[in-house]
């Protein structure tokens, strides 16, 4: 009887033992595979946290004659590691005229002074998305009518409620923005929306007329580019805020950006803003370490348990070994038979474990998804009563979806380690038995 047949017959005859071994190996392989897929999922989660902490850098090209040209912006966006989220900004002053070229009236009440040449002028703010401008996010500005400016072109403006009233303007009307120094350089724009301020300006009496809230106009970037640089058909900007995926890479990305051609980076100021990340960095690393330690502990102990189990199993077969040896079967082929048995069962276990761990990973993945329910949070009311309001849809930060899935490499890794371990521990456990003579083995039996 050759050893393949013996190995096969043993496994069939001792169904209970074979099944126990199969169950054992299956459980171990599933555990390892699940651990590995969880580990890679936590890496994604961690990258999401880093991204959500919104590290970014600002390019201040105010002093450049032509600002940051359009194609440089797209080159910057191509730099590896940027999240694709960015804000471009420009600031200037413009004289305001109606469609016929007559100056519009600005508010001068509360102004420290009305500088010469600025009698009809005010501050012009251009932003990729007017809703994200600090006046709206921090300064308490709110849209009253019309829609915010979200495109780079379109020759639109948003004007203050009081400015609209004072000059009889409404949404859809046309007005002109003119260069303050060169009054002939004007550009027609359409009033796309009207805003108001919900907080008082605290610098009344200190600010010159053009900085007063009433006299501010929001516009698109290309209009501002025309006013600032006289460009037509292309948009140059003064400032850009570029968000990155991993704040740890900010330094590298900023260096890469400064190597791009076409801009005199020496005259620009680049500032990094990653304070939220720096604050959280240490404890975030701690969290990552914990995942790492968990995986390390599981792996090491798994291997230990597997080796012990296989040893225990082989020790139960001392008697059998003695008989084989007494029958004249060589030690090598007995050992090979044992190895074959284990490898056969291990192969089946590893194949099945792919299915079981995929099922488990899937289960974990869907439990993560179901967590994302519409949360409500309380706003604290003036009277001290709380009322629950539906939270506005969370800002889309472009976070990666967490996938708890088994990668091919992990699967291959578990196969390789599993097999090596099975062979090694079986061989090691068999060694003391094989050393003995058949007679001493059989006489030792209980």
């Amino acid at each position: 009887m050759n050893l393949y047949k013996r190995a096969y017959l043993y496994s069939i005859r001792k169904k209970g033992k074979t099944l126990t071994l199969l169950a054992f190996l299956l459980v171990m392989a599933t555990l390892m595979l699940t651990c590995l897929s969880i580990q890679s999922a936590t890496e994604t989660a961690n990258a999401n946290i880093k991204k959500a902490l919104l590290g970014y850098f600002t390019i201040n090209a105010k002093t450049l004659e032509n600002g940051i040209p359009e194609d440089t912006v797209s080159q910057i966006l191509d730099v590896d590691g940027l999240s694709g989220r960015y804000t471009l900004r420009s600031y200037t002053y413009a004289a305001y005229f109606d469609a016929d070229g007559n100056g519009l009236t600005i508010n001068t009440e509360g102004a420290a002074q009305v500088p010469e040449g600025y009698e009809n002028a005010g501050r012009v703010v251009a932003n990729s998305n007017s809703q994200e401008d600090s006046y709206f996010t921090d300064g308490g500005f709110e849209m009253v009518e019309g829609s915010p400016i979200t495109t780079e072109t379109g020759s639109q403006v948003l004007i203050h409620e009081k400015f609209a009233q004072r000059n009889g303007l409404s949404v859809g009307d046309t007005m002109l923005l003119g260069n303050v120094e060169d009054k002939d350089k004007t550009i027609p724009v359409t009033v796309a929306g009207i805003f108001t301020n919900t907080e008082e300006q605290d610098s009344i009496g200190m600010a010159p007329s053009y900085d007063l809230y009433d006299n501010i106009v929001f516009t698109d970037l290309s209009t501002a580019s025309f006013l600032l640089y006289g460009t037509e058909g292309t948009t140059n900007v003064q400032y850009g805020d570029f968000y990155v995926n991993d704040p740890d890479e900010l330094e590298r990305i900023m260096t890469d950006v400064q190597e791009l051609d076409g801009v005199d980076w020496e005259s620009c100021t680049l500032t990094r803003y990653d304070n939220d990340y720096q604050n959280a960095k240490e404890s975030l690393e701690g969290l990552q370490n914990i995942v790492f330690i968990a995986i390390a502990v599981v792996s090491v102990i798994c291997f230990l348990v597997l080796a012990l189990f296989l040893t225990l199993r082989l020790r139960g077969r001392i008697h059998e070994t003695g008989v084989y040896l007494a029958m004249g079967i060589s030690k090598g082929s007995v050992l090979l038979q044992y190895l074959l048995e284990v490898i056969l069962v291990a192969a089946i276990a590893l194949v099945i474990s792919f299915g079981t761990s995929t099922a488990i990973s899937h289960q974990i993945g869907s439990s993560l998804l179901s967590q994302v329910t519409s949360e409500t949070y309380e706003t604290v009311d003036l009277t001290g009563e709380s009322e629950a309001v539906e939270e506005e849809p969370a800002e889309d930060l472009g976070l990666a979806e967490i996938e708890v899935a088994l990668s091919a490499e992990d699967y291959a890794l578990v196969w390789a380690f599993g097999m090596v371990l099975c062979v090694a521990s079986t061989a090691l456990a068999a060694y003391p038995i094989m050393k003995m003579k058949p007679k001493s083995i059989l006489s030792q039996m209980s």
Partner: protein
């Protein structure tokens, strides 16, 4: 030999190699579960720490809409020092600050006015300047000395530029005056710290509020008593603390803390309003709870797998003793006594393995962590973990032995012995 206790001991001693193997297995698995529990706890703690770093806060400010208006300014009552401290004492608050803005002129100890870029200074009276927005956001960074804290009096921190232009250093004394023509007093302040300006003041993202007309180098922060001193004797009407900021230790608890603050009955909440700011936390909270769920799942999987492993191992070890069982039954030992002997043997091993696992798991996480250069101070195995594992593990062991003996015990001794190879 009727005493099953003796039989159990004798068996374990005679089959010491096998006993040792089962012991090692039990030890390893128990260590795994204990480490797992400790890791789950550490994860929770760590996640709380991460939430703590998001700077979640709430602002208490006087409610202008419910107060009077005298044409130029609101006549709503200001925040009192008592009130600010009372709120700060609520559990879960990590730190707080409030500002009282004054625009003093500042002189050195020789009576010369300090050289700077504006007519006066923009002075934030502060309780704990480390919690001031300008420092929290990273726009300013303290580089020398200490921050202003609420137990300091007559202290001031200044910008590095100002220190350089005027040859000032920590420990020097400055004198500030707000409205000399209104007979406000001169206030002496000692420099306790110097900050660096990190932010780009050239950036025109700026809402032209008061502060924006001052260069960052003209910003100073003084202790609250000094700020109050600067306006003493001058009209109390328009000056006072109108806002205070409170930072919580755990962003997830922000709502609860606010609710507790609102239940302070000595404060007339009709005159003040509270706003919560936890944008950073809101941004990361879902990703953070994902990590938590993943780790918890991992621990659950580990625990479940460990239970299965223990059952498998014990059933295997009992099944290999079929023949012995038959002999024991054949010599007339009662079935319960045989089972009890097996249970006793297993428990004998467990009694040694469990406490040892407690000790080894205390080591294992830390060792593995440091081995790979990752500190693991947070992974701590507590006695509660041990109690849990010992009790559940003990029950599991007994159950496993009982279940695996059933198939053997059901049979007659003759059947068992005949079945043997």
């Amino acid at each position: 030999m009727n005493n099953l206790g003796i039989r159990a001991i004798l068996y374990s001693a005679r089959k010491w190699k096998k006993t040792l193997l089962v012991f090692c297995l039990l030890l390893a698995i128990t260590t795994l579960v204990l480490s797992g529990l400790a890791i789950a706890d550490a994860q929770e703690e760590q996640a709380e720490e991460v939430r703590g770093t998001t700077g979640a806060s709430f602002t208490v400010e006087r409610d202008i809409s419910t107060g009077g208006w005298n044409g130029n300014y609101s006549t709503q009552e200001f925040m009192s020092e008592d009130m600010i401290q009372q709120i700060a004492a609520v559990d879960g608050i990590a730190g707080y600050d409030a500002t009282l803005i004054t625009l003093p002129r500042i002189f050195n100890d020789k009576g010369e006015e300090l050289a700077h870029e504006n007519y006066s200074f923009y002075n934030y009276g502060s309780y704990n300047s480390q919690y001031h927005e300008l420092f929290l956001s990273g726009r300013f960074e303290l580089v020398e000395g200490t921050h202003i804290t609420d137990d300091m009096t007559g202290s001031i921190i200044i910008s590095r530029e100002l220190a350089e232009w005027n040859g000032l250093k920590v420990g020097d004394t400055l004198t500030g005056v707000y409205y000399p023509q209104n007979n406000t007093p001169e206030v002496d302040m000692e420099i306790v710290g110097i900050f660096d300006v990190v932010a780009d003041k050239d950036d025109q993202v700026n809402m032209y509020d008061d502060a924006s007309y001052y260069a960052y180098s003209s910003y100073v922060f003084c202790s609250m008593d000094a700020a109050e001193g600067l306006i003493k004797g001058w009209g109390e009407d328009g000056e006072g603390i109108s806002e205070a900021y409170y930072y919580v230790t755990d962003a997830a608890q922000l709502e609860n803390v606010i609710r507790e603050v609102q239940s302070i009955s000595s404060i007339n909440w009709n005159n003040y309003k509270i706003t919560a700011n936890d944008e950073v936390y809101q941004n990361i909270s879902s990703a953070l709870s994902d990590t938590g769920t993943l780790i918890t799942t991992l621990i659950i999987v580990i625990t479940a797998v460990s239970m299965v492993l223990i059952i498998l191992i014990l059933s295997m070890s009992i099944r290999s003793r079929k023949r012995e069982t038959g002999i024991l039954l054949a010599v007339g030992i009662a079935k319960p006594a045989v089972i009890l002997q097996y249970v006793l043997e297993t428990l004998l091993i467990a009694v040694v393995a469990f406490p040892l696992a407690y000790l080894s798991s205390k080591q294992v996480a830390g060792t593995l962590g440091t081995l790979f250069g990752k500190a693991a101070e947070n992974v701590i195995v507590t006695p509660e973990h041990f109690m849990l594992v010992a009790i559940v593990g003990g029950i599991l062991l007994v159950a496993a032995v009982l279940v695996s003996s059933i198939s053997t015990i059901r049979l007659k001794p003759k059947q068992i012995l005949a079945q043997m190879e």
